[in-house]
């Protein structure tokens, strides 16, 4: 970790600390206060939006481990979210399992199926692997929409509410905390995974798999591990998504959803834990802003009624293009540059 001028690590514990300086502690505490008090001062709409943000962060975090760290491109991540969602829905509604038991199962099943689809990764990479993972998107969603007796087919199935000791997480207010806590845990796990032996092996494979193998890293093992963890996170995201929506249909897990996940990751910054968080929040805020703009424009100036039908996507697409031109390494990189500039101030070069 880069540290501000004058701060030197003197022990291993200091070297491995995620939060190292007093300022970082202060910022962390302030961030936690903000996040935990958010539902008390934010509007119901934003609480609902933030639930989606937390769940997306978990899913995109998985994709970041798989693609950003291990370099295994995936265009079928939404299918693994679907597996998690349907696992939770089926276990809770058909077998009356508690959510707390169904959720880890969702992650495990999604992770294991991810490993199956990751098997070709030993032989193929790049665009070829993209096509293989694209197959996962189609195969999995196809099975879900055809297996009527289990998944309800195209008409879907309803999902019971999450309960804990008699308390029902029935409102967005309470579900916010549930989603946030799981997201924070996921971020912590991803952070530690990324700097563990596994994470370093992933980076080595991503940067040069032949060199990594010569140095003793088993590419097959670590690629499959990347698929497992990446899809495990996706399964957890799906598992949280299902009881929130309370109704699942295969149409909720589209190829476009997988593309958006890649978009979140690319805009946020690949290969960093900050990336998915920044990407999801940035795109969500942009989306909300354009939605508000469309609504206001259509309400206030009816003459724009026809025009606004297209404006939302124009603004959205334009922002993404501009972003990719001026900051192709993502928001996380920009954030690092801001921090570095601050640390060297007033002697920045």
């Amino acid at each position: 970790m880069r540290l501000p001028c004058g701060i030197i690590n003197k022990s291993y514990s200091q070297d491995t600390a995620i939060v190292r300086t007093n300022l970082q502690w202060l910022l962390l505490v302030l961030a936690l206060i903000t996040l935990f008090t958010f539902p008390y001062w934010a509007s119901p709409h934003w609480i609902s939006v933030m639930i989606g943000v937390w769940i997306s962060i978990i899913g995109v975090m998985g994709l970041t481990l798989l693609t950003g760290y291990a370099g295994q491109l995936s265009l079928g991540h939404m299918a693994f979210v679907a597996i998690g969602a349907y696992t939770v829905a089926i276990l809770m509604s058909d077998l009356n399992w508690p959510f707390w038991a169904a959720l880890p199962c969702a992650g495990m099943i999604s992770g294991c199926i991810g490993v199956i689809f990751g098997l070709p990764s030993l032989r193929i990479k790049g665009f070829y692997l993209v096509i293989a993972t694209l197959a996962a998107q189609f195969i999995i969603v196809h099975i879900i929409s055809r297996w009527d007796s289990l998944t309800g087919g195209v008409f879907g199935l309803s999902v019971p509410k999450v309960t804990l000791g008699g308390f029902e997480f029935k409102s967005d207010f309470s579900y916010y905390f549930l989603a946030m806590i799981f997201a924070l845990i996921a971020i912590l796990i991803a952070k530690n995974l990324s700097r563990s032996r596994i994470g370093r092996s992933w980076i080595a494979i991503r940067d040069n798999d032949i060199a990594a193998e010569i140095m003793g890293v088993d590419p097959f093992k670590y690629k499959l591990l990347a698929f497992f963890f990446g899809c495990f996170f996706a399964g957890i995201a799906g598992g949280l998504w299902a009881p929130y929506l309370r109704y699942l249909t295969p149409e909720q897990f589209t190829l476009m959803g997988s593309v958006w996940y890649l978009g979140y990751m690319v805009i946020g910054g690949m290969g960093s834990i900050m990336g998915p968080i920044a990407g999801v929040i940035f795109i969500t805020i942009l989306d909300e802003f354009t939605a508000e703009m469309v609504t206001d424009l259509a309400t206030g100036s009816p003459v724009f009624a026809g025009f606004v039908q297209a404006s939302r996507y124009i603004v959205f697409g334009l922002a993404i293009i501009l972003f990719l031109i001026f900051e192709p390494r993502g928001i996380a990189h920009r954030w690092e540059r801001i921090k570095n500039s601050y640390r060297l101030w007033p002697f920045s070069y």
């Binding site: 502690w25 962390l28 505490v29 936690l32 206060i33 935990f36 008090t37 539902p39 008390y40 509007s43 119901p44 709409h45 609480i47 609902s48 939006v49 989606g52 929409s145 055809r146 087919g153 195209v154 008409f155 879907g156 309803s158 804990l164 308390f167 029935k170 409102s171 967005d172 207010f173 309470s174 916010y176 905390f177 806590i181 929130y244 929506l245 309370r246 109704y247 249909t249 149409e251 909720q252 476009m256 939605a291 508000e292 469309v294 609504t295 259509a298 009816p302 003459v303 009624a305 026809g306 606004v308 039908q309 297209a310 404006s311 939302r312 996507y313």
Partner: protein
């Protein structure tokens, strides 16, 4: 060392307290927090997760129709003087955004009704509306939403099954071959596509046809060779295509290419697009499409259609009118139909409890007492009514046909053979 330990411990404890405390508070007073009813307002609040942009942005006239009806209703004095305030947001047919909009409006206002768009969104909203006791005034289309009737869900217009059966009834009235007609169905594998299969099969013996072939056919398909060959091999007489103008055109062209011309091709309301004859490159002649509204430019002799055409020009949706497009005006009417549903329920509720005391429950109860509701400007559709076992506004449809490259009305509104489970 000791100082560091104390510091680490104290920060850890602080963080744990910060994380746990709000959670406990959230769990304890959850109901109290979420039911923070706003101050009493004279207005009647309704909400909508609208559709204006995004992949399905072409359906935006539905939103404009709904908003225009409410504006018109307010200009006509509202419900016994009480104005209706519509809270809406463009949710792009997206389930999560629809739920976010619902969460926002249902917590911020005393909503009596909410309108969602899209099967997925409506199915998810139906559960929430039932839990919160808010009427879901659904834009019709999805039979699974209202059959069997759900306590809080009401549909503003006939669903796809009703329209399909109406069209099949008409087809059989025209059938004079002296044998049982052979019917083929082409459908996409989604709720929209699946919704018509069961009813068409169920009514086969009653109406006098036989379903001999069912072919999956995606809305975005670029060709329909296998489907055309299957229909040809099974000697299908009538093809019912649950598709859009584009997909029906693809099927017509490919059937023609295979040298197979069925006696009749029928599509849903989405087929009555002015571009269809051109898309079908001359092979769409005679294709029939059902729709449950009178619309412009075909029905300008209908006073209500004239009224709304002028209103659309006056309010906001000039492009809908100037294009003289039956498809756009059909979507617009679809939106208006939700307004009619709400006006019917609200007027009935006002008569029972007074306009100032209308609640969601009063609206729900009132809707079930509505019979043949019609106003001077709702004549673009038949009178609407509900009962405890029927939450669909009406079960009539009308038909249009491509003649000489344009859509022409071939009959007026008639009752579909669909029977609600009593």
């Amino acid at each position: 060392m000791g100082r560091t330990l104390v510091k680490t411990l104290s920060i850890s404890i602080l963080v744990i307290i910060l994380m746990t405390l709000p959670l406990l508070i959230a769990c304890s007073d959850d109901d109290e927090k979420t039911e923070n009813a706003p101050e009493e307002l004279p207005d009647i609040h309704v909400g909508m997760s609208a559709l204006v942009t995004g992949p399905y942005g072409a359906y935006a006239p539905i939103t404009w129709g709904y908003l225009d009806y409410m504006k018109d209703l307010n200009e006509r004095g509202g419900i016994d003087g009480a104005q209706i305030e519509v809270h809406w947001k463009d949710c792009q047919y997206d389930v999560a955004q629809s739920i976010a909009a619902y969460a926002d409006y249902s917590k911020s206002y005393d909503l009596v009704a909410f309108t969602g768009m899209g099967t997925g969104a409506n199915l998810a909203l139906a559960e929430r509306c039932a839990e919160d006791g808010i009427v879901l005034a659904a834009i019709g289309g999805e039979p699974e939403l209202i059959w069997p009737a759900q306590e809080w869900v009401f549909a503003s217009s006939p669903n796809h099954a009703i329209g399909a059966l109406g069209a099949m009834q008409y087809a059989m009235e025209q059938w004079d071959e002296g044998r049982v007609a052979r019917v083929g169905i082409a459908y996409p594998n989604n709720p929209f596509g699946q919704s018509i299969i069961g009813p068409i099969e169920e009514y086969a013996s009653e109406l006098g046809y036989e379903v001999v072939e069912k072919q999956e056919f995606e809305l975005t398909a670029l060709d329909a060779v296998s489907q055309s060959l299957a229909f040809r091999d099974d000697e299908v007489d009538i093809v019912y295509v649950q598709g859009t103008a584009k997909s029906v055109a693809v099927l017509c062209k490919d059937m023609d290419r295979q040298g197979f011309i069925p006696k009749m091709v029928i599509g849903p309301l989405h087929v009555i697009h002015p571009a269809f004859p051109e898309l079908a490159a001359g092979t769409g002649e005679g294709v029939i499409g059902w729709n449950p509204f009178y619309l412009w430019p075909q029905d300008m002799d209908n006073e209500s259609v004239q009224y709304w055409r002028d209103k659309a020009l006056e309010y906001s949706s000039g492009d809908i009118v100037s294009e003289e497009d039956p498809y756009m005006s059909m979507l617009y009417m679809w939106g208006l139909s939700v307004g009619v549903l709400l006006e019917a329920g609200l007027r009935e509720a006002a008569a029972e409890v007074g306009a100032a005391n209308i609640t969601a429950e009063a609206l729900r109860n009132a809707l079930e007492n509505v019979t043949n509701f019609k106003t001077g400007n709702s004549g673009f559709q038949p009178g609407i009514g509900f009962s405890p076992s029927n939450h669909e506004a009406y079960s009539a449809t009308s038909l249009m046909q491509v003649q000489d490259g344009v859509w022409v009305r071939i009959n007026n509104m008639f009752e579909s053979p669909w029977k609600f489970a009593e």
